[in-house]
Amino acid sequence: MADGTRGTGDRKELPDDEAALSARLQRLGQRLDKASRPSENDFGPRSAADASAFARGFRLSTELVAGVVVGALIGWLIDRWLGISPWGLIVFLLLGFAAGVLNVMRAAGVVRERSLDE
């Protein structure tokens, strides 16, 4: 807390100067305020990389499978719906695999979490 303010002004004028005292109090109040309030920088949105290692490990275990399963499911439904078997399954399995890999890379923090306007 040695920020120089105490030495320069306050000590000289302290005995009779009410204004200096109140200014000091105000400064102290501001500093306390700043110290006690969690700032936006501390608690801003962060990537999943900060989650504990265990949480990340558990996350990785299912992300890839989920992507592939969704791809297969959509491909199969499209095949049944449009009668273009097996093309829907082939294409969407590949896309699903890509999505799964993307999920894993996000979960591992290799790629940033998505966000709007970025």
């Binding site: 558990f58 996350r59 992507g67 399963v69 890509a98 999920n103 979490e113 966000s115 970025e118």
Partner: protein
């Protein structure tokens, strides 16, 4: 005498409530344990915060720790604005944690070992993110699927992959919790059945040898306690990460 490791997950109707067409809607053992968890959490928080002493009692400080823990998780992953969803995340976390912990007590039923339960929770989170995102940002929300700085000729492919990745979320979200609880409880049951099998086959020597799987069960229970907590935590933190998408238009 073989022990069926799947038997513990069977649903029993306790008493019928009403009928839809020919389907009985009954109060099941699963519903009973859910109700027990909800009553337990509510009692814990209501009694814990009843006195609100400056010097907290044990229960009050436990309630405060639970609050602080979830609040820090929400703030650190979804930002201060994410606190709007604190009640939602806190409810999910406490419910899953309590249900998982109750499931570790012998002869109880683990609600989260049924995928329909975890899927319902995951779909609730998914729809919350989707609807709040649309409400908050309108159609601009779909820009989520269009990353900036991607060459135009590859963009349609990327959008497809991003959409698939988004749709896969509730699946990985629900399967993770369900599979971990299911696998853990099956493992416990299998090791427990080893004791009975050995005792039945080899008599006194078998019962003595049963000390080995029993020691394993003790270790596994410790692991399962950790998993029960971590799965609740992972579910909560992923909910926050998903909500972050809906809340933050840009950083």
């Amino acid at each position: 005498m073989a022990v069926d490791p799947i038997e513990q997950f069977q649903i029993h109707n306790l008493f019928p409530v009403f009928k839809i067409g020919h389907t009985d809607i009954a109060f099941t053992n699963s519903a009973a344990f859910m109700l027990a968890a909800v009553v337990g959490v509510t009692a814990f928080l209501v009694i814990g915060t009843a006195r609100r002493g400056l010097v907290p009692s044990r229960l009050q400080s436990a309630a405060e720790i639970a609050y602080e823990f979830v609040a820090t998780t929400v703030r650190s992953t979804a930002g201060s604005e994410g606190m709007k969803f604190f009640p939602f995340v806190f409810t999910l976390f406490m419910f899953i944690l309590t249900v998982n912990m109750i499931g570790l007590i012998p002869y109880t039923f683990t609600v989260t070992s049924h995928i329909i339960v975890t899927a319902a929770l995951a779909i609730t989170v998914f729809l919350t993110v989707l609807l709040y995102g649309l409400y908050r940002h309108g159609l601009h929300f779909f820009n989520l699927f269009v990353p900036k700085g991607v060459p135009i000729y590859i963009l349609p492919l990327i959008v497809f992959i991003e959409v698939l990745s988004f749709i896969s979320r509730p699946i990985s979200h629900s399967v993770r919790l369900f599979a971990n609880m299911l696998a853990g409880h099956i493992t416990l049951q299998v090791f427990a059945s080893f004791i009975i099998l050995m005792g039945g086959a080899m008599g006194a020597l078998g019962w003595a040898g049963g000390a080995l799987p029993f020691a394993m069960i003790v270790i596994l229970i410790a692991l399962e306690t950790l998993v029960a907590f971590l799965q609740a935590y992972v579910f909560a933190i992923l909910t926050c990460i998903y909500l972050n998408d809906a809340i933050h238009p840009g950083h």
